[in-house]
Symmetry: C2
Subunit: 393 residues, 2 copies
Amino acid sequence: MVQDVAIIGAGQTRYGDFPDNGVKELFAEAYLEMIQSVDKGLDPQQIGSAYIGNLSAGSGYQLGQLAPLLMGHVGLPHAHAVRVENACGSGGYALYSAACAVASGKFDMVIAAGVEKMRDVSSTKGKYWLGVSGDTEYERLAGSTFAGIYALMAKRYMHEYGLKREHLSMVAVKNHRNAVANPKAQFRKEITLDKAMSGVPVADPFNVWDCSPTSDGAAVVLLCNAKIAKQFTDKPVYLKGFGAASDYLAIHDRHTFTSLVAAQKAAAEAYKQANVGPKDINFAEVHDCFTIAEILAYGDLGFCEVGQAQRLLEEGTTQPDGRLPVNASGGLKAKGHPLGATGCGQATEIFKQLRGEAKEPSRQIQNGRIALSHNVGGSGGTAAVFIYQRGDE
Amino acid sequence: MVQDVAIIGAGQTRYGDFPDNGVKELFAEAYLEMIQSVDKGLDPQQIGSAYIGNLSAGSGYQLGQLAPLLMGHVGLPHAHAVRVENACGSGGYALYSAACAVASGKFDMVIAAGVEKMRDVSSTKGKYWLGVSGDTEYERLAGSTFAGIYALMAKRYMHEYGLKREHLSMVAVKNHRNAVANPKAQFRKEITLDKAMSGVPVADPFNVWDCSPTSDGAAVVLLCNAKIAKQFTDKPVYLKGFGAASDYLAIHDRHTFTSLVAAQKAAAEAYKQANVGPKDINFAEVHDCFTIAEILAYGDLGFCEVGQAQRLLEEGTTQPDGRLPVNASGGLKAKGHPLGATGCGQATEIFKQLRGEAKEPSRQIQNGRIALSHNVGGSGGTAAVFIYQRGDE
């Protein structure tokens, strides 16, 4: 890496169901929060480029060129702007591409963003979305659903490693509790373990409490060349490592169901670049689109051995007061999951936590110095992992 | 720019209507031609990353994660892979992002590719495609078509600068003649000026001969760090400059109809980075989705003053034997226009021409040293411009 990369601003909408706001309004709301977060001020015309993650625009509401449409709406009509897409990982890949653009020296200041309006995907198209994660030819057209594919992974984890149904629910209970104090979260209510274990069935072993919601939302992160970061804030956050990797889309081509190999490879790349290891991570935001996905992430990111995730849950390690808080925001499960926005929303949460600006004091993580985010495309066809470090030391 | 960028391989399918080939088959065909073009050989596992341009996958044939699906199909399932989209400029933006990834030092070897299967966009969805270029809210839903928007620009150019109907047709006649010797071209037949002026009306002043076709196709370009290029070929092509910029999608927001400001800004950036000017360009591939688009390009790229393009046509400057051949491949008009593939197909044509490998001797441009490609998203919402230099000197 040639130029080091810093994050100097970040903002996001609340996630939820917003019938009165289109993608332009959602993007502008997140953009304005980002601009206001740059504490020494910024001339937006310095922003040379934008990578914007989105999946659903092609379903009809803006078939092509969503990125320049959004940038024109916020008064930057001429900046380089492009949409990047890797399903639910689109936001992470926007962040990755933006980081490359800064690292290349081509631009000093680049937006990474994501926006999704899942409410506007029409019901006739909606049936497609259940299979969006996987291989159209071998999975979607054969009748598989997104939940169904992750359910296979959960079943296999149970079979190989003795994971119990209640471990899945412990993830849901933790993340719902974490979301209560997060003003950006879609579901701000606690659920009991009994309730989490007895929801309406979706795909065995999952019930509705194992599944992330349908969400609208946007998130915008501002990256710059680390050399100039302190002109804009005394509290930059450095993007010390970024990794991304892929895997076969169709799970019948993979050699394991109890790890996402894409995430393992992405994590290895990010750790190597940042020159840190799993033990150095103080807290993390991980991609819990289904409860099993957080359990897979623990192993894939090296927080435990593959197959030992249940121990972390039983010992409370990933609770907000544990050694390694995971999804203090509420995660995809309770903060919400507006596909293309999720990866940049994770970065926004970490930016605020590392700066001590989590707002609700009850949810501020204390003494966080190094953090990680993990964003997955679909059922693990792609994954991007980022490592962040506080820059005010 | 920190690391210089070279192109060491390129390949593409013929463009056309291929009912028996899906996106995977088209991509693989172009990928294999690219691999074979690396004359000193290559271990494909050295390829760390792929940026793939595509517009239509989201219409149903692969809703998300097309990029890793294609890479898995050619035996590179774990490389970083992501789809980039800016409508008809998607391929150019894939090339731009790939160049940033190499320049950043993050990867030594990166694929830029594009693939499109326009035949597989269903007829009910097909109606959308006529408006894909522009702003859904203000243009497509109001009934405008893609041809209709460019027709407005043609009318305005005629009004302001005295362009005649026959100047439009001169572009079509030239590009059809150029395509005859190109084995990759969709339409390999000459048309007369009379025929070009009297086709079935599409959107006044356009008839069918002013419009590029519906095409299937793929193109794959291999970029690497310039420092290692000569390990793989004695004839690398250097990517000396790359620029990209945007404009308002809806033309009612623009201050001119006789230039694409996005293309002007992209060209200025590319010329500056390459440290050359329009007079240094020996030949060019430009985005002639409609005949007027090539005429706009002449001015936007500085080949003439805005408004003077008809002179270049009358004087034969852009004919294959002129001072500045434009679209020696046949251009979008006759080589074909598989949206997301087009930008990388232009790069493939230039790579082959600069290496003296245009195959049909009759179409080989002599003594070309510096070339330019110009790829536009929709009606000018985005544009990307690239400057290439022969590397065997």
